[in-house]
Symmetry: C2
DNA sequence: CTACTAAACTGAACGCGTTCAGTAAGGCGC
DNA sequence: GCGCCTTACTGAACGCGTTCAGTTTAGTAG
């Protein structure tokens, strides 16, 4: 039993790593399922025995990445950064650094907006991964002494996650050398984002904050 | 010559309208090129003689829509709205109203973020249409007596266009009855957007505005 | 009317993701 | 040893978007 499932696990891992290597070398779309099977030394059907679809291979990569990233992100957050901005910067650059060798693969993940498409970052299939990812922003916020406004606080992790997705989306399609524009974008936008969050705590800002919270609840809330 | 090209034009129009009807009835993905050809009474190859791909059919629809929409939008803008917010509201609701029968088709257009994909709203293929669309926001802004800050003003049409795309994206996947959530979202977000634009003219806001303009120039500008 | 040309088509074939009826192979009770 | 079930795998076949070497057809020059 154990040997049997162990061999199966090896085959699964072999197919996945072969697929990821090919995706990395020649891109997601250029790589065919037949090629993956041939390179892994199995029949075409075997890939479908372990992975429901070509997309599922990418999703498996995404899940694996998220698992590998979590200790890295925890370590980064454990460092004593001076404020939220520094923590967010560390979080996002760590992620970009981690994904750099697989940037083209990530583009397969970021390519779809349709929440019905399994590869969409908003899909049901990627829900578990997304929620864990949002958690890391929760932690980045929690590390602060300051209390965020009670009405806004529950939404902040999701808002920051969306911000991060925007950065990653830009990065994935950034043609400038070493994706330099993305980093410029990050340097310019992060201060604005954190400043806005700070400012939102001022009593003066209550009316605008209330509008914003209503907006967020329309987006994420029930009908 | 004229009769010949005229017949060709008729065939082209027949294929396009057949395709759009089928897309509307059963969705973009469910509809096959063979079905379109059969329904239009031509061979499969004929569809590819007139349209480079299945996507190109959607792009043709998009181009046609933009042409039909322009006089409608001009008429809407000609009405005496009391402010920018009212004009934007009229602009966006007119567009949603126009696209309502083809909402599922529009989802094919909004589904891709990849600027390399022809159906992406950011693609080279849809550039001409996008630029005309952005123009309508230019006009909505120009109708105002007030002068917008010189540094920000050139970016405002593109910013409003992105805002509109966000609304449309939400609308396309909005499952609530009659897409009521989208309209709620519009009611909640439009005041914030226009308020922010108003506030940006205050001298007090110069530093934040400068940051924002730099951000926009990083996004849209050259390397 | 005829020969020629370019535009307007045709449909078989290709490559792809995916499916599925079938086959091998290991463990288990007897 | 032998039957039997479950897991692991096979590869032919399907449906799809797309391509392209051909064929028809409409107009044109002689």
């Amino acid at each position: 039993m154990t040997t049997k499932t162990q061999k199966a696990e090896e085959t699964r891992a072999l197919i996945l790593s072969t697929a990821l290597a090919l995706f990395r070398e020649q891109g997601f779309e250029k790589t065919t399922m037949r090629e993956i099977a041939a390179e892994a030394g199995v029949a075409l059907g075997a890939t479908y025995y372990y992975f429901a679809s070509k997309d599922a291979l990418v999703l498996a990569f995404y899940a694996q990445s998220q698992m590998e990233l979590e200790p890295l992100l925890a370590e980064v957050l454990a460092r004593k950064h001076k404020n939220l901005q520094a923590r967010l910067h560390a979080l996002i650059t760590t992620k970009l650094e981690y994904f750099r060798p697989n940037r083209s693969l990530l583009s397969a993940l970021a390519a779809h907006t349709n929440p019905g498409h399994s590869l969409s970052p908003f899909s049901e299939d990627s829900r578990a991964i997304r929620e864990r990812d949002i958690q890391s922003f929760q932690q980045a916020l929690d590390a602060d002494k300051v209390k965020y406004p009670a009405d806004l606080a529950p939404h902040l992790p999701a808002v920051l996650w969306i911000y991060q997705m925007g950065i990653i989306l830009y990065w994935v399609y950034d043609q400038s050398p070493s994706q330099r524009r993305t980093f410029k974008l990050l340097e310019k936008s992060l201060p604005i984002v954190t400043r806005l969050i700070q400012v939102s705590t001022l009593p003066l800002m209550k009316p605008l904050r209330k509008l914003t919270v209503e907006l967020l609840e329309t987006i994420y809330g029930p009908d």
